[in-house]
Amino acid sequence: MTHPSTAQVGDRLHEHRFGPITRTTLALYAGASQDHNPIHVDTDFAAKAGLDDVFAHGMLSMAQLGRLVSDWAGQDNLCNLSTRFTAITPVGATVTCTGEVIERSRRDRETMLKIDLKATIDDGTVTLTGSALVRAA
């Protein structure tokens, strides 16, 4: 695995997996995140909203992308993290997080790396796309 200080465009971060996401995971995440939206934990509420089942919090997957980047670059070197939620994550899914260095540049006196991020579930559906900006310390 390349260290951020020497990482070049095209380098990939170690793949990170999280799951399978159970209903227990979602109940715990609802409590831990203080996001009490019933659409993630209450099947009766989901049915009333016209859905077949509850679905995972998108932020639980973003947290995994955050882990991918902070494990590699260090939390103190993380400058930006952003994601777009492109599909819902169903109960039972395992989320695979990947990252690729797409830009190496200078900002002030520091070397910055832009990382392209993606979260994918078992059937290949991309659930989150995003990017991070880190200091290549």
Binding site: T25, S33, Q34, I39, K48, M59, R67, L78, L81, F85
Partner: protein
């Protein structure tokens, strides 16, 4: 059909104080599967040079939720009510963090959210609310800027 309350554009919520509680922070870290001890073990965090356990990258959303609960508890109007969000139709579109400094257990921070505006997409099938929250520490200044887009599924 419920729509976002577009009259709320430009509104800024009064700063809400939130205490970053160690137990709650560690519970969150464990729930997302964090194994790095700086997020779960105060002793390890101190040994690594931090004053206490460190908030993970997405902890800003938890503080935002905490601020919303605190606002309701004290009789105020939380952001979802302010923009007229319909929970049955609500989706999360985008979430972006700009980090200015770390957040630690034991910090007291304040959160303030501005309704940046609204937009439509997919020929009126979706409507977006654009929000921006600043998390600030009294001595250390702004710590995180959060930009969030929420979506209503219409039709």
């Amino acid at each position: 059909m419920a729509r976002f309350n577009r009259d709320s554009e430009g509104q800024v919520s009064a700063p809400v104080p939130v205490d970053v509680e160690r137990g709650a922070l560690v519970f969150f870290s464990e729930t997302i599967g964090e194994t790095n001890p700086i997020y779960v073990n105060p002793g390890a965090a101190r040994a690594a040079g931090y004053p206490d356990v460190v908030a993970p990258a997405t902890y800003a959303v938890v503080l935002d939720m905490a601020a919303a609960h605190e606002t309701r508890r004290t009789g105020g109007t939380d952001i979802l009510t302010r923009i007229g969000a319909d929970m049955r139709r609500l989706l999360h579109g985008n979430e972006a963090y700009e980090y200015h400094g770390p957040i630690f257990a034991g910090d007291r921070v304040t959160l303030s959210t501005r309704v940046r505006g609204f937009s439509d997409a997919k020929g009126g099938k979706l409507e977006f609310a654009h929000l921006e929250t600043t998390i600030t520490h009294k001595e250390r200044g702004p710590l995180v800027t959060v930009r969030r887009d929420l979506i209503h599924r219409l039709g």
